[in-house]
Amino acid sequence: MAPTSDTDWQPQMGDDTLDEMACQELVEVITDYLEGTLPTSDRARFDAHLAMCPGCREYLEQMRALIRLSGSVTAKSIEPATRDSLLRAFRRWRDS
């Protein structure tokens, strides 16, 4: 699995730094942008596009909001019975 594949829908990037980034391309490279792995030239195109596109600013803000929200999803822990049996095992280990 390649990080990017040359499928029809995916705009080519990196060839021309003056080339304006379209919204459709931006939504595909947004994770690279947030991860800091977008090549410098594309990063500049991303920022330039963002400056003039309220739709993409909203999109980016939503991605950031999603990441924040995900941080408050609580994890399910182990069953109480498993925890109890672990504590019993601990006591046997300690007393052995």
């Binding site: 995916q10 919204c23 947004i30 994770t31 941080g71 822990s77 006591r91």
Partner: protein, 258 residues
């Protein structure tokens, strides 16, 4: 030393089960500055707080139950989540977590703190989960697993102007529906979290695991790559597809709500 736990089949665990875990590759230890509050608080052990980690290991070796309870309560949710990346059944994941804690007890005497306790713990979990998955012939190799939902665009092409549009090819024709109308308070509503939780559960497994570990657990990318044996690029693809899908779910939810 042999440990046996009651009420679980195959719960026998010998000391040698921990062999090989002692020298966890330093590459997967967490040395990067942690910016996410949740991750920081949950895994302070791995971020260089060596004094308290050494103290905790001492207390554990002395048989202090509170130290063990703290570790179990702090790490079990994350351990179980990671286990579910490899095995399908909840009950099996539960057993793998249990085996991991028993392996910790068996091996703590020989633990040399060359890696953090947390790194060591997750390494044990990963190895045991893989062993279980192999036994069940349900090995899930993340490295071979694609995003599981094809490699098409993450936002429907219908939302953009066509490529032959005279002025704005590929620009939004239907821009993202704003969430801000719902207000910050509403965003945190329980219902929103339920929508997000359901969305996460319904993600393809590989995406779900990566999003869970990265965004819910707050792991840094390199630790997720190490635990799942994923390349950085593949990890990003899975994260991208998972996040994009969740954003779309929330957008639809807020649009219906408005």
């Amino acid at each position: 030393m042999t440990l046996r736990i009651s009420g679980t089949s195959g719960g026998e665990l010998r000391g040698q089960n921990c062999e090989g875990y002692r020298e966890t590759p330093p590459g997967i230890a967490c040395h990067v500055p942690v910016t996410k509050g949740r991750y920081e608080s949950a895994v302070a052990l791995s971020t260089g707080d060596r004094t308290s980690e050494a103290d905790l290991i001492d207390r554990l070796r002395r048989g202090e139950e509170a130290a063990f309870t703290w570790l179990v309560d702090t790490y079990s949710p994350s351990l179980k989540r990671l286990a579910l990346a490899f095995v399908s059944l909840d009950a099996v994941a539960e057993e793998v977590v249990q085996e991991t804690w028993l392996a910790l007890l068996t091996g703590i005497g020989r633990f040399e703190a060359r890696s953090s306790l947390k790194t060591w713990l997750f390494k044990i979990l990963t190895n045991r989960a893989k062993t279980r998955a192999a036994r069940e012939k349900r090995v899930l190799r993340f490295s071979e697993l694609g995003p599981e939902d094809g490699d098409g665009p993450v936002v429907s092409p219908e939302r953009f102007l066509p490529p032959d549009h005279p002025s704005f090819p590929g620009h939004w024709s239907t821009p993202p529906h704003p969430w801000s109308v719902a207000g910050d308070q509403a965003v945190l509503r329980r219902e929103t979290m339920d929508v997000l939780r359901r969305g996460l559960e319904n993600l393809p497994r590989s995406q779900r695991t990566v999003v869970m570990l990265r965004d819910v657990e707050g792991w840094p990318a390199h630790e997720v790559c190490a635990a799942l044996e994923l390349s950085e690029a593949n990890q990003r693809v899975l994260l991208h597809r998972g996040r994009s899908r969740l954003r779309a779910i929330l957008e639809t939810y807020f649009a219906e709500d408005a």
